[in-house]
Every structure is written in C-alpha cells, then in structure tokens.
C-alpha cells in the first residue's frame, strides 16, 4: 500500500479563504519578516534534503563514479559518457519499454476496475456497501512491504494457495508452478498486487464524489429514456471529469515510480528481467556499483516523470486556483 496523501487534505477551506485576498477593511495583513521566519524551517529542510539530492543526482550523472571512486573519494568528470553508455545500452531501452507497458496495464486496470467498483458501491444497498467498503479499506490499509510478503506466500511455488486453487479447479499444469521464473510473470504478479492495493483508493473516492451528485439529475435523464451506458458517458463522466483526470495522472506517477513492490517481490529478477526504471537505477547503483550511470538513469527517469507531473499540476492548478 502506498499512503495516498492526496486523500489527506480534506477540503475544508471555507468561504473565508475564497476570493481575491484584497485588503480587508479594518485590519491590514502583516507584511515584513514574520511570514518568512515561519516558512524558513520548512524551506531549509526541503532544500537541504530534497533539493540537495536532486542537484547531487544531476552532478553525479556527469561523473565517472564506480567502486574505486567511492573508496578513494575522488571526483572524475566524465562529461556525457554515462548518458551515452545508458542510451546505447539495450537493457535500458528494454527497461523503458517494460516500464511503459507495466504502467499502462496497471493504470488501465486500476482506473477501469476502480470506476466499476465505485459505481457498484453507489448502486448497492446500505449493508452490502458497508461490507464491500470494509474489504476495500482492509486491502488499502495493508503496508506495501506486508502485502508484498503476503503475495509471495499466496503465489509460493510449493505451498501457495493460488497454485493449489488453480490445480484443484482443473489447471493441473499450475501444480508447483513457479510464478517468479520469468520477468513477465513476475511483473504480472506485481500488477495484481498493485491493482489490488490501488483500486480501493479510486473506488472509495469515486463513491464519495458520486454521493455529492444529486439523484434528480439521473432520474430526469432516466425519464427521458437514457440507458445506463448513456447516463455514465453523458452525465457522470462529464461531472466527474476532474476527478478522473487527476486520479489517472496520480496513478501514472505512482505506478511509474513503484519500487518497493517490484524490488521486495523479486529484486528485479530473474536475470534483471523485471527491472523497471526505478529498480534499474537502484540495481545499477547498489549491486553493480555504477553510481554514475545509476544517477544518469535516475535523471532520465525524473525527466519522464516530470512530463506526467506537469500535466498533473496543470489540472491541480485549475482546481485550486480560487484557493491560492
């Protein structure tokens, strides 16, 4: 499970914060050094830890940095060599393609299933809705490292319950099937894991959004003879469009940088076949001691992520404009 921090900020900014912050009559908002003093610790912490890491990452990506340099603590500049090596490395391009397919499959499944389950929650009666919501929250609450461990157990070769279930319903070839024998199969398990853990976020938030839409709209449309399909695409989808857009980009970003699930499940193996970009950067650095090229991979990954993020932020700003 990832903690979905976007769920954290409950939108409680009332009428007081709305509207342009024009000078109010009676009292002036203070200017001067006080606000700067208040934000200083935050800025300092962010710059010292996050900012420095980003800058160092860029600097190291231009260095020849292996085990030797790590021990001797010397700096050897390499210009664009790391990038050249990476971009000519077939393994890198494999990882890029793999990452994109992996991300696309995950996001489509998460959004599709999440939407269907959200709609189902809306259509259910009170009791059944509570049952389903509790199950979703339970899956959502599972820490990533725990769910990864549990999935390893579920898909265990000898004693796993999945192999047992598959072979007892007639797929005898799954008896003692090793799910982690190839990169594709490993990533399929990671996909099930991530989809299982992420669908609750989409479904529960969609349901919460649906409860704010008045039922009259649907009744009126149904009177006019609209089908369910039509209701969804002509009424629901347009109303919930901001939600769908923002959530899709969030999931793209989250899945793209997924690390713990992939690494803890099979360490990017077998034979580095299930490495996505973040895992590849880690393996290059920590296992191969190629810190320079690890940094270069991570810079390139950041650039790809920034594209997704810029779309996300554009959407968020449209939403939040009146609050800023």
């Amino acid at each position: 499970m990832t903690v979905h921090i976007e769920d954290a900020p409950p939108d409680v900014s009332g009428a007081t914060s709305k509207g342009p912050p024009k000078r109010r009559t009676g009292r002036r908002l203070p200017t001067g050094w006080v606000p700067y003093l208040l934000i200083l610790p935050s800025i300092a912490a962010l710059v010292a830890v996050l900012g420095w890491a980003l800058v160092q990452n860029l600097i190291i990506s231009f260095q020849e940095f292996g085990r030797r340099q790590l021990i001797s603590r010397t700096t050897e500049w390499a210009g664009l060599d790391n990038y050249r090596t990476i971009l000519e490395d077939e393994r890198f391009w494999d990882a890029v393609v793999r990452t994109f397919f992996f991300m696309a499959a995950n996001v489509v499944l998460i959004m599709g299933l999440g939407t269907l389950i959200g709609l189902l929650l809306h259509a259910l009666g009170k009791k059944m809705r509570l049952v389903l919501a509790i199950s979703l929250v339970a899956a959502w609450a599972m820490p990533v490292t725990v769910s990864t461990t549990v999935f390893r157990w579920l898909f265990d070769q000898q004693l796993g319950v999945v192999n047992w279930a598959l072979s007892s319903i007639g797929f005898s070839s799954y008896e003692e099937h090793n799910w982690f024998s190839s990169g594709a199969s490993t990533l399929a398990i990671v996909t099930i894991l991530i989809v299982w853990a992420s669908v609750p976020f989409v479904a529960l938030n969609l349901y919460a959004g649906l409860t704010t839409i008045s039922g009259e709209i649907f009744e009126a449309a149904r009177m006019d003879g609209a089908s369910n399909w039509r209701l969804f695409w002509s009424i629901l989808a347009p109303i919930m469009r901001p939600f769908f857009m923002i959530t899709t980009f969030l999931e793209i970003i989250w899945v793209f940088k997924a690390f713990a699930q992939i690494y803890a499940l099979n360490a990017g193996g077998p034979n580095r076949e299930s490495e996505t970009l973040p895992v590849m950067a880690y393996v290059e650095g920590m296992s191969q001691s190629q810190y320079g090229s690890a940094a270069a991979i991570s810079v390139l990954t950041l650039v790809i992520l920034l594209v997704a993020m810029s779309f996300y932020f554009r959407l968020i700003f449209k939403q939040e404009r009146e609050q800023l």
Binding site: T31, L46, I60, M142, V146, T149, W153, G285
Partner: protein, 273 residues
C-alpha cells in the same frame, strides 16, 4: 426484474469483497496455524489456533530493537513535521507575503517528489556525511517526506478556522501569537491528529530508504526486517505471516482512527455560539 438486478449486484459485491479481503485473511489465518497446517499441500481452512509463530517471530534476535527503531524514527519524524509544518502552514493560510504562491507551488511539487528514484544519491550523500546506519538520518528524511503534505493538510485546517475568531481575540487584547495559541491551536486538534496519522503511516511503511541507508541490523526498522525475514528463516511462512500481522496492526489502528476524523465541526460550532 428488480430482484434479479439486486441479486446480481449483491453477488458481485460478495465476490469482490472476498477477493479484496482474501490476502488479508490469509495472512491472519496462516499466522495462527500450527506448522503442520501451514506446511501442507492442501491448504487447511479449519484449524486450532496457536500463538507459536508469534513466539518465533518475537524471539528473533534484535526484534525489539527493530520495533524500538521503527517507533523512534516514526514518532520523531511526525513530531518534527508537525512542528515545522504548523509554522509554515499558518504563514501560508493567514499571511500575505511576497513569494507565497511560490511556496505553495514548492510544497505541492515536494509532495510528489520521487524519493524512490533518489535513493542512490541519498545514500551517497549520507555516506559523505558519515550518516549511514543512523536513526537520526532516517528520522530527518522521513520528516522531509512527511513535511509537504503536513503543510498542505494543516493549511486547509487553519484556513477553515474563521478569521473573525482570531480578529475578535485580537480586539479583546491578544497579540497575534496569543490569538494563535489560545484560539486557533485548540481548534486544530482534528487537523493535527489527521496530519500526524498520515505521517505515521508514511514513515512506518517506508522501505526504499532504510534499504540503502541502514544496512546495519542495529539500525534497521521493521519493514527491512520483514522483507528479509524469509531470506533468514527459509520457508517458515507461519512466522513470516505472524511478523506481517504484527507490523500491520498499528497501521490498522491508525486507519480506524482516521475513519472517525471529524473535520470542520468544531469551528462551525464555535461561530454559531
């Protein structure tokens, strides 16, 4: 017709509930099975529960060190984040200053920071500063991870407290600091609670950083212990699931607490009076 639809919906809901719940259930049930019930080709669904695996898992060398480390790091990071975020979010929510928009933007960007991709460079930086295998380093990093959304969440809660409350306190003779501590701060309890719980979950679950930074078992936290448990204990799935369950319980408690998060109610009550 109506009944058929209802049956269909409820049936789907039951199957989905079972699918989502199953891994959680399987973790709990495996942890209470005896080893013979775990190590069988045909899974056992009815069994006499035993606490053996919990004994095995907690008897692991350094187990209590990991528990202690996890709590120190998590609580340290959350408290630090609350303190620092409170100041910044007050400035953002209530004050007008040059660079405010930039600050909001920085906070939002930092909230999305791809830490997973920066682990190598964080490792190298920590190494240069000789801060590897240190709980302080981990606390500081988790604090910075939790900081952006703490600022963001608290900003919302502070903005929800009507300005008039603060203004009337100031008319009654409070200065700005007094108005904050006597009027706003008491109303922020739900906000501080929600913020710290989310911070708790983020830090408690964090895996990538501790994986590279604190390889020394003395400085490791529970997520690292959990993922390495199997490597160290082979196929003792019962004990592994007991360890997983113990690690999950605090998170489940936090989730239950968050469900009750009541927001805005207090402030609304305060103006009505």
């Amino acid at each position: 017709m109506r009944n058929a639809r209802k049956l269909w919906l409820n049936g789907t809901a039951v199957i989905l509930s079972a699918l989502f719940l199953f891994p959680v259930y399987w973790m709990f049930s495996t942890s209470f099975k005896s080893s013979t019930d775990v190590l069988t080709d045909d899974p056992v669904f009815l069994f006499t529960p035993t606490f053996d695996h919990y004994e095995t898992a907690t008897a692991v060398e350094l187990f209590w060190t990991y528990v202690g480390n996890s709590f120190i790091v998590t609580i340290g990071a959350v408290l630090l984040a609350l303190l620092v975020a409170l100041a910044a979010s007050y400035a953002i929510a209530r004050m007008q200053f040059r660079g405010r928009r930039g600050m909001v933007l920085a906070v939002m960007m930092a909230q999305m920071a791809p830490w997973e991709i920066l682990i190598i460079v964080v490792y190298l930086n920590a190494r240069d500063l000789e801060m590897l295998n240190s709980l302080l380093t981990l606390t500081l990093i988790y604090f910075v991870m939790a900081l952006p959304f703490s600022i963001w969440t608290l900003r919302g809660f502070i903005a929800a407290v009507p300005k008039e409350l603060e203004e009337s306190a100031m008319i009654d003779g409070c200065n700005r600091a007094q108005a904050f501590f006597r009027v706003i701060f008491p109303l922020l309890a739900p906000g501080l609670m929600a913020t710290s719980l989310f911070g708790f979950i983020a830090a408690w679950n964090e895996y990538a950083m501790v994986l590279v930074l604190n390889k020394d078992p003395e400085a490791a936290t529970l997520p690292l212990w959990l993922t390495q448990f199997q490597t160290n204990f082979g196929n003792d799935w019962g004990a592994t699931m007991a360890a997983s369950t113990m690690f999950t319980v605090p998170v489940l408690i936090v989730f239950v607490l968050l469900q009750r998060r009541v927001t805005g109610g207090l402030a609304a009550g305060a103006v009505k009076g």
